[in-house]
């Protein structure tokens, strides 16, 4: 039997506005519990919400960046439910008049362009945090503590159409969304800290069927890895059930990363009736063309556009331009390094190679690239060193640990440490002549045509120069001195 997977994602992106959605409290992450609170966000009797317009700006930004239509009349509704992390016992959210509608994002899957449609994006407030004592969950806890710092921090909920066809696509779409959120600088997009979250609606159907299968909602996906893993688990679970002749129950399932399994949280029958209705404490927000156009002008250049430009203007391979635009800062640092190149003949590709090497070093060592203030300057310096054959590109890798996160000029550094390649032909010539003298046997082998021995001789040269011999030059001179070139 051939099955088709149908996935829709609900992404929650926390916005990094200064203040919360409906009060003046700081929206900062990680502060001492219950220090960023006031009568409004703790739902004292008699308080009223006042909308933070910056949140609307952020929502419009994301809407425009994801090709959405921006609704001119916006309304907030109350989603009613009782839980200690929700002090009003309702969440202020948008229900039938969300701010953004009908957009899409393109992702690349196995070198093929896939369009993922976005149903809607809406604004809502986050809940507080419960810390259970003596257990992981509330039912087993001796008592639970409530931290309302996060309560009413602004969120955007981004709902996709059920058009995602695999767990990998889901992850790629999620990564693309994070990339855009970070380019727009409206959120941190950090899944581990919870500033980016995602629930997946998963169902399967026989290939060719039009009717959708019964879906389950998978929650608690706290990393991109979890997204992919949990969805795959759920697909396998559903296929097993259907192939055994069973039926899928509509339910919410909780993903447990430690055990790599999902367990049922609640079935459809136990689902809440949220009794949505328009919040009478807030007036509708009217977004006119002027507002939208003002935001449109503030939009930064987005990754897809930059990629195209890098390919067209700099003749970079697509793979390079995709990797360079993975984060905005890298694209900017690359471009600045190239624009300020120290040699006219430095090519974009040379700069790109160095930039990617530089960035990879941060990635593989779990360093924060966003805080690397001298990246562009150092990438430029390193490119110059490579371009002038002052160091080999492998040398770059070995000096990166010493210079990143410092303001070292790589050119000065190489000079200070005496790392420059020996490219002085006179000096190199006498070293190579010594090596030939000391190794007459191998020298004869090469002369008689056993070219593999060149490697051995090069090793000897490198040993004598402590690795600083310019390998291309040394190779050429060796051959010349042996009279075989």
């Amino acid at each position: 039997m051939s099955w088709e997977v149908v996935i829709g994602l609900e992404i929650h992106a926390q916005l990094k506005t200064n203040s919360k959605l409906f009060c003046h409290c700081s929206a900062a992450f990680g502060d001492t519990p219950n220090t960023n609170i006031c009568p409004v966000c703790t739902a004292m009797p008699g308080v009223l919400p006042v909308l933070n317009k910056k949140v609307v700006d952020s929502a419009i930004k994301l809407g425009l960046a994801t090709n959405c239509k921006i609704n001119s009349i916006n309304e907030f509704s109350r989603k009613n439910y009782f839980y200690p992390d929700s002090p009003k016992a309702y969440q202020i959210s948008q229900f039938d008049k969300p701010i953004c509608l009908a957009g899409y994002l393109n992702i690349m899957v196995n070198n093929e362009l896939r369009r993922i449609d976005i149903t809607r994006i809406h604004m809502e407030e986050d809940a507080g945090k419960l810390v259970h004592q003596g257990s992981d969950n509330i039912s087993g806890a001796t008592h639970s503590l409530v931290d309302l710092n996060r309560c009413s921090v602004p969120l955007l909920e981004i709902v996709s159409e059920p058009v995602i066809r695999s767990a990998t696509e889901a992850r790629l779409y999620m990564e693309k969304m994070r990339q855009i959120i970070r380019y727009l600088d409206i959120g941190d997009g950090n899944m581990e800290e919870g500033s980016l979250r995602c629930d997946a609606n998963v169902s399967i159907r026989k290939r060719g069927d039009i009717k959708l299968g019964t879906k389950t909602e998978v929650k608690n996906l706290n990393s991109f890895k979890s997204v992919e893993k949990a969805i795959n688990l759920e697909i396998d679970r559903q296929i097993d059930i259907l192939e055994d002749g069973g039926t899928i129950i509509q339910e919410t399932r909780h993903y447990n990363e430690a055990t790599a399994s999902t367990t049922s949280l609640r079935s459809k029958e136990e689902a809440h009736d949220y009794r949505y209705f328009p919040d009478p404490d807030l007036v509708p927000i009217v977004i006119d063309e002027l507002w939208i156009e003002t935001i449109r002008k503030e939009l930064p250049e987005l990754p897809e556009a930059i990629q195209k430009r890098f390919v067209n203007d700099y003749n970079l391979p697509t793979d390079h331009s995709v990797r360079l635009t993975s984060i905005k800062k890298l694209a900017e640092d690359f471009e600045n390094a190239y624009k300020n190149r120290k040699n006219e003949n430095i090519t974009p590709l040379e700069t790109a190679n160095v930039a990617l090497k530089y960035y990879d070093y941060f990635l593989s060592n779990n360093l924060d690239f966003s805080k690397s203030n001298h990246a562009s300057f150092q990438i430029g310096g390193l490119t110059f060193l490579v371009n002038t054959s002052t160091v080999s590109s492998s040398t770059i890798t070995s000096i990166l640990p010493d210079i990143v996160n410092t303001n070292y000029d790589p050119i000065e550094y190489v000079k200070e440490k005496g790392l420059a390649q020996v490219s002085d032909t006179g000096e190199l010539k006498s070293i190579i002549q010594d090596v030939i003298k000391e190794n007459p046997g191998p020298a004869e082998e090469i002369k008689s045509g056993k070219m593999q021995t060149i490697g051995f001789m090069m090793g000897q040269i490198m040993q004598k120069t402590k690795g600083k011999a310019n390998p291309g030059l040394a190779n050429k001179m060796l051959k010349e001195l042996l009279g075989i070139s």
Binding site: P39, P45, G46, L48, A89, F277
Partner: protein
């Protein structure tokens, strides 16, 4: 002295005939003495009243000019937050609760140095028309202590009618200022929705709630409105309209004004006795050159049912925050989170509040939302349009404030619908967000009756002007010696 109106008292302070402290003490003494009978206060706030009075006296001593109503005491309904002062909504669920902040109007009254005498009794969470749903027991109507003072702002009305305070503040969601004003023979104003900030008013039904004043005269209310009104950024539904002097039309002639009497309010629900009384009253006013015309506001017949969908719906959500987690009453008999919330609410709320929460949850639940809540909002639009059309022709709309004078406790509690019917005259005004006033117009069965005048949105000045002239014509006086006798 305690039976003087606010304006007269203010002049006495200004002219140094009495100090603000002496005045405040007189009202506190009288309030303490009579509260045992009237049960109009949940709390007398002697300390803050005296502090404020002292501030005024200091100002006088340094020769500073006083602004109107500085030093004049005022009583506050117990659903308006005063920082660190117990504010309970007359509910067990908020027993002992002290808000960490001041309502906007409290800031305004403090800035105007008006001594706050106490927090007045009310129907629990303003749900009721008699103060009978108060956790602290019913307040008594000073005209006849065997009758109710009306509600929900009953305590505030009693305070002014009985000389406990010359002014008081109430809130009006479906008539909760105008109906008790009518029952107690005083003036009560519900301003246009959005005129006075709701920040710090413990919400009952957010789209209907509006704070307003009680006073002995229309002029006093006009002055108090000048202090209370104004845009507040903390209330998104507050209206950013230009400040105006609400006393500006008080002396304007009302000869030739056109007054509409809606059939829907005038004929259906009145007893013959009450109807005859108002017929004769209108005759009298016609002789003063006022033009009365009967009109139809057809959608008004749906007002009561519309109100009893919208108000409970909003209330069910507004009152969800009382869950025993952060403040207020928490049940001791709970073994789990769900039990803690359920029992705290079951034990903390009274029957009427529970009834309305249930109605509200029902009309908002999926599957019923369209048939009830959505439909009710559509009717509400029709009601607004009916009024709007009427105001194209008429200056004000007139009706009795209540279908009957004050009733006895228990008379209407057995059948909630009967209690709801008592608000039939006042409810449409809240649905339309209009300003309205109740002024005393005479007595039926030895109990005061009120005349309700409704104005167009933001036409409070005109409404108060007309009311002030009618007040002069009607010559209604609080029978102070009679009330003293009762007490």
């Amino acid at each position: 002295m305690i039976h003087l109106n606010a304006h007269e008292l203010f002049n006495k302070i200004k002219n140094k005939e009495v100090s603000a402290l002496e005045l405040t003490n007189a009202f506190i003494t009288h309030s303490k003495k009579t509260n045992a009978v009237l049960n109009s206060y949940n709390l007398i706030t002697e300390e803050i009243a005296i502090n404020t009075a002292n501030r005024v006296d200091k100002k006088i001593a340094t020769g500073e000019k006083l602004e109107i109503f500085e030093g004049v005491p005022i009583a506050i309904k117990d659903n308006i937050c005063i920082e660190d002062i117990e504010t309970t909504c007359s509910s067990k669920i908020l027993e002992g609760f002290k808000p960490p902040y001041n309502a906007t109007i409290i800031e305004k009254l403090n800035a105007m140095n008006m001594p706050i005498i106490g927090k007045t009794n009310m129907d629990e969470f303003a749900m009721g028309s008699s103060t009978e749903t108060s956790f602290y027991g019913v307040s008594k109507n000073p005209w006849d202590i065997s009758t109710v003072p009306g509600g929900s702002s009953g305590g505030s009305a009693v305070a002014v009618a009985s000389g406990q305070a010359p002014l008081s503040i109430g809130s009006d969601t479906g008539g909760s200022i105008r109906q008790p004003a009518s029952f107690c023979g005083i003036v009560g104003v519900k301003p246009t929705y959005g005129r006075i900030s709701r920040y710090g008013l413990m919400a009952f039904a957010s789209s209907l709630d509006q704070i307003g004043p009680f006073s002995k005269t229309v002029e006093d209310s006009a002055h108090l409105l000048n202090i209370l009104c104004g845009y507040d950024f903390r209330d998104s539904t507050s209206q950013n309209v230009k400040a105006e002097d609400f006393t500006r039309d008080l002396n304007r002639s009302i000869k030739g004004i056109k007054v509409a009497i809606p059939k829907e309010l005038y004929n259906s629900s009145l007893s013959k006795e009450v109807k005859d009384y108002y017929d004769q009253l209108i005759n009298k006013l016609s002789n003063e050159g006022i033009i009365f015309e009967e009109i139809e506001l057809p959608s008004l017949k749906y007002a009561l049912s519309t109100y009893y969908i919208i108000a409970p719906a909003e209330a069910s959500s507004n009152l969800s925050r009382y869950d025993g987690v952060r403040y207020g009453y928490r049940s001791e008999n709970a073994n789990s989170l769900i039990e803690m919330m359920t029992k705290s609410r079951s034990e903390g709320f009274g029957d009427e509040v529970k009834r309305r929460i249930l109605i509200g949850n029902y009309v908002l639940s999926s599957g019923y939302y369209d048939a009830y809540y959505k439909k009710a909002q559509q009717v509400r639009t029709l009601i607004k349009e009916d009024y709007k059309k009427a105001f194209e022709t008429y200056d004000v709309i007139l009706s009795p404030t209540t279908p009957t004078p004050a009733f006895k406790p228990g008379e209407k509690t057995a059948n909630p619908l009967e209690m709801y019917l008592n608000d039939i005259m006042t409810i449409p005004v809240n649905l339309a967000g209009l300003p309205a006033i109740s002024i005393p117009c005479g007595m039926v069965n030895n109990l005061p009756m009120g005349l309700q005048l409704t104005g167009n949105v933001f036409e409070e000045s005109k409404l108060l002007g007309i009311s002030n002239q009618l007040e002069k014509i009607l010559c209604f006086k609080l029978n102070n010696s009679f009330i003293e006798g009762v007490l």
